[in-house]
């Protein structure tokens, strides 16, 4: 029996290319059986007995594992509905009722769409990207055979894994024209950013006490900087103009003799705006201040060169470039040397800057993802730009729709659009067939508008009505067309329900109205 089951597994593995349906496996299994019988003549007798049992198993067990997104979505919405109905049974406001009725009405729209699947289109590439199958393929062997600890240098298991790690490190370094020795693997961009902001500041705290960053940084940089205030540091948060770009003169003015670090993100995660990294690098180098850039959204997507751009520290995330989640990297310049105090104490791996055993499957997957970003750069760039232009054109054809952030200095894969007179949350609710995120990172009911859009000078209403569209390598033309159609239809629909829109249509200037109540 055991032998039979094993035989079946062997058969499945060898013939995996044929695994299209059960009958094929079955056929193949019989072939396998013949081979196995040939192979071990002494087991022939017990084998035929096992065969019938195994045959049954093959028929009963499905190899396919199906994940049902609808069930999860339904559960989620039921939980939300229950929570909503119990908490404000009486205080249901008119606007909530309007949202409910509109989403009910929109349900019909989905039902008309029969004959198609139900899983939403994924357009939230700034949050994370799907893992490229080629990356998974690289990772698989680390879960099946290459399990050595890369830091074990006494045996072949360690050596072979270590070799793969170093290969990955080279791929990661190549993309930004760095030396592999300058790459430190971390758990992700958040850790990299924390390591830099806290580590550099702490190392130089005897002589320096000032950090410069911007108001549109990712939360992890802002929070890390804020926490350094408690350690006696002064932080300058540079403002941005209405395009989301910082003013270089402003930066120059703010650099002091005691400034140890300037941290400016390359591509903004909410609006896709690309800061003038090369110019900032020049200013920093001239003033002998370390320049850190959070390149989580930029790495591999726009050309970057740490030497040409005078970047001293650079944070990278793997899962934004179709790699596995849970890993990232930090580039730390060696000449002129950048010193920082590590966050973690331990065995001194990664040049002593990040102790702890590396995760070889993740590192190798990350390396492959980086290699693919380089290999596919031309193709990805062309594809994403085409789709982005098409999407932007389609969305801006809607009345009172505006693109947030600079139209020229941007990464095309991130399109952030505000639809005036529509509530962002209700639009997102009406767009359950598209996986999107509003400009604000917060998706809960607290309705806190995006601090990034605020920094651009947008008012609350516009910040609330903005939606971020993320396009990636795997997005198709068809999907973009679907999204344009859906947005145009539903914005129109929601506006028809909106009293504000009615007033706008009648030519009333909304700013002239004195709002009463809360």
């Amino acid at each position: 029996m055991i032998r039979g089951t094993r035989g079946r597994l062997v058969g499945l593995f060898r013939s995996s290319a044929l695994l299209r349906n059960n009958s094929r496996i079955y056929n193949n299994y019989n072939r396998r059986r013949d081979v196995l019988v040939l192979k071990s003549l002494d087991h022939v007798r017990c084998y035929s007995a096992a065969v019938s049992a195994v045959k049954k198993l093959v028929d009963d067990v499905s190899l396919e594992i199906h994940t049902d997104i609808q069930a999860a979505a339904k559960e989620q919405s039921e939980v939300r509905n229950n929570a909503a109905s119990t908490s404000n049974k009486e205080s249901k406001t008119e606007s909530e009722a309007a949202i409910l009725s509109s989403s009910n009405a929109l349900k019909h729209a989905y039902q008309e769409n029969t004959g198609f699947g139900t899983r939403p289109i994924y357009l939230d590439m700034q949050a994370t990207t799907p893992t490229d199958p080629r990356v998974l393929d690289t990772m698989m062997k680390f879960f099946t055979g290459l399990y050595g600890n890369p830091h074990s240098n006494t045996h072949a298991y360690g050596w072979e894994t270590n070799k793969e790690i170093e290969k990955a490190r080279k791929h990661v370094a190549d993309l930004i024209n760095a030396d592999p020795k300058e790459i430190i693997f971390t758990s992700g961009a958040t850790e990299s950013n924390n390591t830099v902001v806290k580590g550099v500041a702490r190392f130089y705290k005897k002589t320096k006490n000032h950090i410069i960053t911007t108001r549109t940084e990712h939360k992890c940089v802002l929070e890390a900087a804020r926490s350094m205030m408690n350690e006696g540091f002064e932080i300058t948060f540079l403002s941005v103009d209405e395009n989301g770009l910082i003013d270089l003169e402003d930066l120059k003015k703010n650099i002091r003799p005691t400034t140890c670090l300037v941290s400016v993100m390359a591509v903004n995660n909410e609006i896709g705006v690309l800061q003038p990294i090369k110019e900032i690098g020049e200013i920093c180098r001239k003033n002998k201040v370390f320049f850190h850039t959070d390149a989580a959204q930029a790495y591999g997507k726009i050309p970057m060169d740490v030497n040409k751009m005078n970047i001293d520290l650079l944070s990278i995330s793997s899962h934004k470039i179709y790699g596995p989640k849970g890993i990232g990297a930090l580039y730390v310049r060696r000449r002129p040397r950048v010193r920082l105090e590590p966050l973690l104490s331990g065995g001194g791996q990664e040049r002593g800057l990040r102790s702890g055993t590396l995760a070889p499957p993740l590192v190798a997957g990350f390396g492959e993802a980086a290699r693919l970003m380089k290999q596919e750069y031309e193709s990805d760039h062309k594809h994403i730009t085409e789709l982005s232009d098409r999407l932007t054109k389609g969305l801006l054809s809607v009345e009172h729709a505006t693109l947030n952030g600079s139209p020229s200095h941007r990464y095309p894969g991130c399109v952030n659009v505000s639809f005036a007179y529509v509530e962002g949350e209700s639009l997102l609710m009406a767009l359950r067939d598209i996986a999107l995120s509003s400009g604000s990172a917060c998706t809960s009911a607290s309705l806190e508008p995006s601090y990034v859009l605020h920094a651009l000078g947008k008012d609350d209403a516009l910040a609330h009505s903005s939606i971020r569209f993320g396009i990636g390598r795997f997005t198709t033309n068809e999907e973009v067309d679907y999204v344009i159609k859906a947005i145009v239809e539903r914005v129109k629909y929601l506006r028809e329900l909106s009293p504000l829109w009615e007033m706008v249509q009648e030519g009333i200037d909304l700013d002239s109205i004195q709002w009463s109540g809360h």
Binding site: R20, F116, G117, E479
Partner: protein
């Protein structure tokens, strides 16, 4: 010199295998991506003349094919609901 490049039939056969295996992906986005990339890269190298370059391309194609073969199977083993842009019947 002396390296003999793949024949026309061999190249077309490789292309056919890449297309076939791409089509096997259950995941809509991966399927469309690999189809698009296979087409793009073959068309871009259509007029390749240097025999060493042809051999290199061909060998890279073979490597890609082996990845596609493995990954298309995985895509069929772990399936998800169809996307809203995918027709439920006769999608292929």
């Amino acid at each position: 010199m002396g390296a003999v490049g793949p024949t026309r039939i061999e190249v077309l056969h490789l292309y056919k295998q890449l297309i076939k295996n791409s089509r096997l992906f259950n995941d809509y986005n991966f399927r469309e991506f690999f189809l698009r990339r296979s087409r793009e890269s073959f068309k871009a190298n259509k007029h390749l003349n240097d025999s060493q370059a042809i051999i290199d391309c061909y060998n890279r194609g073979l490597e890609d094919l082996s990845v596609l073969k493995r990954q298309s199977i995985i895509s069929q083993l772990y399936t998800f609901d169809k996307l809203v842009v995918e027709p439920l019947k006769g999608s292929r």
